[in-house]
Amino acid sequence: MDSDAGLGSTADDYESLLSTTDAELWKSAWRNEKAAPEILKYDVDLIQRSRQQIQLMEEMADEFNKNGVDPLTVSLYQMDLDRTMFLMRSYLRTRLQKIEKYVFHIQKTAEQWNRLSRQEQKFAKRYATDLEHHLDQSVLSKLPDQYRSHLRQSAASEEDDMVPEPKLDTYVICKSKKYLGSFQLDDG
C-alpha cells in the first residue's frame, strides 16, 4: 500500500479495484439492463468468465459437501453461487423480454441487431417468424390485399407505422460515479 498517499486516495484505489470485480460488473450490467427501455450491448466476455467461475464454484461446493466441511461455510458458498446465478438468469430474461417486445424494430435497425448475442439473434428470428405466422393466420390473410402487411397499416403508408419502438424519452434514474459538477439538463 502507498504510504505517501493520504487516506483519500487509498479509498479511491479500493473503490476502483472493487469496481472491476466481476460481481460489480454483473450488478451494474443487470441494473442498466433493467432500467433502460431499449436493449443494450451484450457483454460476451463477462458471461464466458462467469460461466467458468460458476462451474468451479459448483465443483468446490460439491467437494465441500462430500468432505463434510462446516455446513455454514458450504451454505455461504451456495448462497454466493445462487445469487450470481440469479443475476445471470435475470439479465438474460430481461433481454429476452425486451427482444419479444420490440422484435420488428430490432430486426430493422442494424445497430440494435448487433447488440444481440448469436443465440439471441437465432431466438429473435424464430420468434419473429412465429409471430408473423400467427398474425397472418388469424387476421392478415382475411383482409384485402393492400392491407396485408404486418409492418405497415396499408400499402398507402409511407413508412412502417405498425412497428412498436422503444420509448427513448422515458424518465430513468441515474447514479453518478463521481462528482460531475453542475450541468444543464434539457428542460432547464
Binding site: 451456495q78 400467427h134 387476421v139 382475411k142 383482409l143
Partner: protein, 224 residues
C-alpha cells in the same frame, strides 16, 4: 356506425383482469372481418370513379388548351369542370372514410390478437409444456399453435445457452425453503436426492427445485 364492433372487441379484452384470458370471441371477430370486406366492396368502385373523374378533368383541360375558345364555351367548360370536381371530391371523401375505417378495423383486430399473444407468452414462462385444460379451451386453434411454437423456440434458446431461465424469478434469500405440498405428486428426482412428495407433507427443499411447483400451485412456501 363503422368501427363500433372492433372497439367492442378491444374493450372486451381490456375489461379482463390483466394476465387472464377470456374465450376467443370468434363471432365478433368474424363480424369485424365481414365489415372490412364490406368496406372493400365500397372502396373499389369509388377508386374507379375517382380515376374516371381525374381522366375527365385532364381531357377538359387538354381540350381547353387545344381549342381557342370563345367566352360562352369557356364558361360552359368551367361549369363542367366544377361539376366534375365536386363529384371527384365527394368520391374522394367517401373513399377516405372507407379506407380509414378499414385501417382502424385492422388495427383493432391486430391489437386484440397481439395482446392475447402477449398473455399467452407470459403463461409460457410459468408452465413447462402443456397448458391446463381451462386455459386451453379459451384459445383459438391458431393461438394454440403459436403457444407450441413459442415454447419450442424458448426451449431451443435455453438449451443453447445451457441455463434454466424459468427458475429464480424472485431474488433468492435462502438457498433452502420450507414448503408444504398441496397436491399428491409422488416420487420425484430432485437435484441431489429422491423425494416422496405426498400431500400435506412439509419438506425442506432447494429453492431451485421447489420453485417450479410453487408457480404451478402444487406447493406453497411457508414463510413464517
Amino acid at each position: 356506425m363503422y368501427g363500433r364492433k372492433a372497439s367492442e372487441l378491444v374493450k372486451e379484452f381490456a375489461s379482463c383482469e390483466p394476465g387472464q384470458l377470456s374465450t376467443f370471441n370468434n363471432d365478433l371477430f368474424t363480424q369485424v372481418l365481414e365489415e372490412c370486406d364490406g368496406h372493400l366492396l365500397h372502396l373499389q368502385p369509388l377508386m374507379r370513379k375517382i380515376q374516371d373523374h381525374e381522366n375527365e378533368l385532364k381531357d377538359c383541360r387538354r381540350s381547353e388548351d387545344d381549342i381557342g375558345s370563345s367566352e360562352d364555351e369557356s364558361r360552359k367548360s368551367e361549369a363542367e369542370k366544377l361539376v366534375i370536381q365536386n363529384a371527384l371530391k365527394s368520391n374522394q371523401f367517401g373513399a377516405l372514410v372507407h379506407h380509414l375505417s378499414l385501417v382502424r378495423n385492422k388495427r383493432c383486430l391486430m391489437a386484440y390478437i397481439h395482446n392475447r399473444a402477449e398473455v399467452i407468452r407470459n403463461l409460457g414462462w410459468m408452465v413447462e409444456r402443456v397448458l391446463p385444460e381451462e386455459i386451453q379451451e379459451k384459445l383459438s386453434s391458431s393461438e394454440e399453435e403459436y403457444f407450441k411454437n413459442h415454447v419450442a423456440t424458448l426451449q431451443s434458446y435455453t438449451s443453447e445457452v445451457d441455463l434454466q431461465l424459468n427458475v429464480d424469478m424472485v431474488p433468492p434469500k435462502d438457498p433452502f425453503v420450507k414448503v408444504r405440498v398441496l397436491d399428491d405428486i409422488g416420487q420425484i428426482m430432485l437435484s441431489d436426492q429422491v423425494a416422496n412428495l405426498a400431500r400435506h407433507a412439509i419438506m425442506f427443499l432447494r429453492r431451485t427445485d421447489a420453485e417450479q411447483y410453487i408457480t404451478q400451485g402444487q406447493m406453497e412456501e411457508l414463510t413464517s
